[in-house]
Amino acid sequence: MQALPKQETPFGELGQFHEAFAALYPRLVGYARRYGAAFPEDIAQEAFVILMQREEPVEHPTAFLYGTVRTLALTERRPMKNQNLSLEAVLEPGKGPEADESLLHREVRERMQTLSPTFREALWLFVVEGLSIKEIADILEIPEATVKTRIHRAKAQLKDQLNPSGDIHVLA
């Protein structure tokens, strides 16, 4: 492997980029899979390449990656045909995209499924992916106020489903 010039990445130094990649790549693959992408690994890799290729700095690289994955998944493109860079060989057990569906309890998953797709999308990004309102607004290309509205409506619907009598209890 040839030596690469030491330079800053969108996530800081090279070691920070490796950590960010290790943390974000499986999540991006799962996110692409949620959109029904046929080749989610390729889409996630292409998103990273697009981010690194940019010469202008990106303000929120995580939001940029999610937004790019969403766009690529929606357009059903297959940008890279590099089978050697498949995710299956490098994933840690329990951290792969297959684990996304098992992250939530079945009961909660079913309740999330009853939400409208727009509410569910915002709720997933906010709670499960841990993104900020601003990042979600960038990803979905909608105003921040709209994101907040969707999350609050999702919360209201969830409350109604989980506890119609009005008492709040915690699912564990």
């Binding site: 950590e19 890799q45 290729q53 919360k155 969830l158």
Partner: protein, 178 residues
Amino acid sequence: MSWHDPARDHESEEDLDLRDELSQLLGIPTGGFFGKVEPTPKMIALAEDLRREALRRRHTARQRPLWMLMAAALPLALAVGALGSWGYQHKQRADANAAALAQKEDELQKLAREAVQKQFASAQAAPVSVVAMQSTVAPTSPIRVATHKPRPGELVIEVAPSASVLPPQTQTVKQTGP
């Protein structure tokens, strides 16, 4: 050393509380599912491959300097400018011609108006002579001149008596007997 996204720093307390509340509602751990992940050698290799691919694309992408783009656009700009100038000149010329034409038309209308006025004035003076002629010519002329008084603006034409003579009536006589 961990990677850092500045978006995490700008979250308000309200948003953090909302996330915690929703996490409780969904039964998700408050810190989220995705904790700190230590990169494995294979993951690092994949990251480096992607970074190398990005660098390769960045270097192979043709980056033309600004002056080259401007030079390429110069002929088009010149053509557009020349065309605009030519059109502007033609418009000016057409406007001048239209103004001259309108002025000529005004002059012609003025002349025509004056001619009509002159003709009207002469027509008003004509009936006096016609009446005078009628009183002398009428007894001998076979043509009767209209007895009504000509109205203003009505043209009266003097008509000379016709010189043609009707053929005399002929009668055919048949000779009978010796």
